[in-house]
């Protein structure tokens, strides 16, 4: 457990000291939101309707940008082998990286939520539920992105392959999250949205466990 936290903490510190990754992701998001806001037109009504979709599409793109960061530095510095050589099981590498990706994605997601609330007039009355959706959505997304990033870490064309593999698999997560956000924005009671919440939860559990189980097989050798 301690290892997981240390690994995630180290990666976060490196990420914030390096700045390039996280800054470029945030900047990319801001530009993307501007373009989308212009595309959907000036009417607040249309913008509000588009907001949940925009939020999650932007987060999905940002996630694919950040996914490469999970193992990018390890490969560049050749520290991946050292990680693999540490005694004990290998699941903790996955969980550490997952925690790192999840924290990163959550941070970006929170910033994004604020931006969409401002730019797209997303109603924020039920903000605790938004945060919960964001938590679950980022977790599901990070589970898959971390797994694939680790799998493709040593590969040269990984920047192209990663989104290609990532997006089809995260569609269920993103879809459930979008529906949930949409319902919340329309002010529906949470009882009516319980189905989507449950789906999101099921996907999170399945993805995280399955990825953690297969991950050690993907890295060795």
């Amino acid at each position: 457990m301690q290892r997981i936290l240390w690994l995630a903490w180290r990666d976060l510190v490196l990420e914030f000291r390096g700045r390039t990754g996280i800054l470029s992701a945030v900047f990319f998001l801001a530009v993307m939101l501007f373009i989308l806001a212009m595309a959907f037109g000036p009417s607040p009504q249309a913008l509000r309707q588009a907001a949940p979709g925009v939020l999650w599409v932007a987060l999905a793109f940002a996630g694919s940008l950040l996914a490469g960061r999970a193992f990018g530095l390890e490969v560049e510095d050749g520290t991946l082998d050292e990680l693999l050589l540490t005694p004990g099981s290998r699941e903790w590498i996955y969980f550490g990286k997952l925690l790192f990706q999840f924290t990163l994605l959550l941070g970006v997601g929170l910033a994004l939520l604020g931006l969409t609330a401002g730019l797209f007039y997303l109603p924020m009355q039920s903000w605790p539920w938004y945060i919960l959706t964001l938590l679950l959505g980022s977790l599901g997304y990070a589970a898959i992105s971390t797994f694939y990033a680790g799998m493709l870490a040593r590969l040269r064309g990984r920047e192209v392959l990663l989104p290609l593999l990532l997006f089809p698999l995260v569609i269920p997560v993103v879809l459930a999250a979008v529906r949930l956000t949409q319902g919340l924005a329309e002010g529906l009671p949470i009882v009516e949205l319980a189905d989507w919440l449950r789906l999101l939860l099921v996907f999170d559990v399945v993805y995280v466990t399955l990825c953690a189980v297969i991950f050690p097989y993907m890295l060795e050798g």
Binding site: R154, L161, P168
Partner: protein, 230 residues
């Protein structure tokens, strides 16, 4: 260029040819059986496509599970043979999935009025299709055979999660798509016996073609691998 030497492991055997031959005969027979089946009460003759569409979809789903099985087998045992079979299964499964989508669209146009609708069954099937296209692309992109096999196995295992969701989607979301003809979760058969027979003929024929094609594709892959090594 020297052709790959055929060895006992990659020789085209009579079993594969026999299965394929029987399957092709079966497909022709199944097609005639489907086209001569009685018209549906509400949909008329259009419903005949059901005899092709449903077994094709089953084969596509079956392919996912078979690929899952071989992928797990590869990760545990590390036999290149399993990896080749998994890849062959995915490729053949993709054909069936494409045919499922195609026949489904042809069926949807006269009955629903549109070729495509973003309802859960269709969406999940399209996602599944995209996942397995990704599988093929990944295989093409990685040079190192061992890394390729591992990455492909990962994709196949994660991809198979979406099969049960796609299968159950018609129930969970009560969508436009009609519910299962034969409910595998309860064992209830929702169609009439007269309609069932042509479908079962097609199912048997497709299964034979499916197995035959996978064997054939795996043989070709084995020869390719043998040549790469030589």
């Amino acid at each position: 260029m020297q052709l790959a030497r055929s060895s006992p492991t990659n020789r085209l055997d009579y079993l594969t040819l026999g299965i394929l031959g029987l399957g092709i005969i079966g497909v022709v027979w199944g097609f005639f059986a489907a086209m001569s089946s009685p018209p549906d009460q509400s949909q008329g003759y259009v419903a005949r496509i059901f005899h092709l569409h449903v077994p094709m979809a089953w084969m596509a789903y079956a392919a996912s599970f078979v690929a899952l099985g071989y992928s797990v087998a590869y990760l545990v045992r590390r036999k290149a043979h399993h990896d080749r079979l998994a890849a062959a299964t995915v490729e053949v499964g993709l054909i069936f999935m494409a045919l499922t989508l195609l026949t489904g669209m042809l069926w949807a146009r006269p009955t629903w009025g549109v070729y495509w609708d973003w309802e859960p069954r269709l969406t999940t099937t399209a996602i599944l299709f995209a996942i397995y296209v990704g599988y093929v692309v990944v295989r093409g992109a990685i040079e190192d055979p061992e890394l390729r096999a591992k990455a492909a196995a990962g994709v196949a295992i994660l991809g198979a999660i979406n099969v049960p969701i796609s299968y159950m989607s018609v129930k969970w979301w009560r969508s436009l798509h009609q519910t299962q003809s034969i409910d595998l979760t309860t064992g209830k058969i929702n169609v009439d016996a007269a309609i069932l027979i042509p479908m079962l003929i097609n199912l048997a024929a497709f299964t034979l073609v499916f197995i035959g094609l996978i064997r054939l594709r795996a043989l070709i892959a084995a020869r390719e691998a043998a040549r790469e090594e030589a």
